[in-house]
Symmetry: C2
Subunit: 221 residues, 2 copies
Amino acid sequence: MVYAAGHRDEVKGKIVQSARRLFNRHGFDNVSVDQIMAGAGLTRGGFYSYFESKSDLYAEVLGCFFTDPEWKSCWEGVEVDLASTDVGPQVVRAYLSRQHFEDVENSCPMVALPSDVSRSGERAKCAFEAVFKAMVSVLERSLVTDGRTSDGLAGNGRGRHAVAQATAALCVGGMVVARAMENRAIADELRTACMDVAFELGGWTRQESAKNRRAVSTGAV
Amino acid sequence: MVYAAGHRDEVKGKIVQSARRLFNRHGFDNVSVDQIMAGAGLTRGGFYSYFESKSDLYAEVLGCFFTDPEWKSCWEGVEVDLASTDVGPQVVRAYLSRQHFEDVENSCPMVALPSDVSRSGERAKCAFEAVFKAMVSVLERSLVTDGRTSDGLAGNGRGRHAVAQATAALCVGGMVVARAMENRAIADELRTACMDVAFELGGWTRQESAKNRRAVSTGAV
DNA sequence: TGTACATCAGTGAACGCGCGTTCACTGATGTAC
DNA sequence: TGTACATCAGTGAACGCGCGTTCACTGATGTAC
């Protein structure tokens, strides 16, 4: 054996990570195979011994966000403990954080690539859907519905799931819109507004929410 | 004068509309000048007597959504009466409707092109921001906050604005995510969930909300 | 009225460029004998 | 131990293609005289 076992897997991982960063920043069509391979420390010729085509890589890149059990790649540097009981507020806070807003390269693909995926094929859409389902599932588990059952929204299984879905859509939508605006102050305001409402939807404490608002405006989160 | 006055404006409008449909469907980079001009019944050569470059056209296309005072291009075929007092629920219902979900060509640019815009320059982002501000403004005017002032969210000017911003982000996010998913049933479920929560945020009646749910599931809206 | 000319929106061939993809080759390493 | 060979990850020149952009040209119409 000329190369160590696992060598190919390691190189393939480097290519995927390079592609992930570049796709997040520039979109699928504005990134060339040359750039991806250069980002992995290689040259273009080797690409096709690892992937069938550029589209093939695209699907794999989107999928890797889901297969990563820790979702680390989404919010690198933001601590989220999935085993914690208040994982919901943690996820919302991390998702709508200034860090996630600014770190485009390591962003959640739902924020960086939604319109690209909606124009793509089945594989890309399935990967996107899996990421969204995972987010909804995490939020649903930590929804606080006590005392809110009377409003008919969060009172049963269907309602809990619906509220979790909407909360996830609110987080994704808030970030997507914030990233597409020119005025930074309005983008910050929007993130805060979405965080407040997401906390209300989740039934999480107002203190948490107020803490978030301060954190967003001072840039600490 | 060889051609009638207004001829150039009319032709320019045709090019912009052709570009709008094509950009919405395929994104900026996957549409060629040839295709745009063909869609307007012309050939490529004439393009540069109307626009400085393809990017120039892009900014103009995004801007035209905002300058259109009726937002007709966003929800063609869905009736929204901006003078009506319950314009809020109307906008939410139209925005999250099956028609808007399916009619990609005539879609709101915030749903069809958000990640493209976030990678674009100042002009595109300003146009996007203007569309979002217009939507927030419409929603804010028809928020019902009576009886909700005690919760501290919608009790003052800042709160009303924040709730309107979050409601808009929820509508945009719900549609963006729905379009990027593979499973149509889950996309429908998500639209319904977002509509219910948006109605709750707006303080609009539950009957309206229930009506929406039926409409979504039967495809009537 | 008729002829020559001016105007200008639109045409389509051509240019240069970058991209996705292919493929003959390199060169470092392990193996056979 | 030494020599010839096999393996294969990675290289980089080359191909074909489509794109954005340019430009000399066309042809329909109005105007001058």
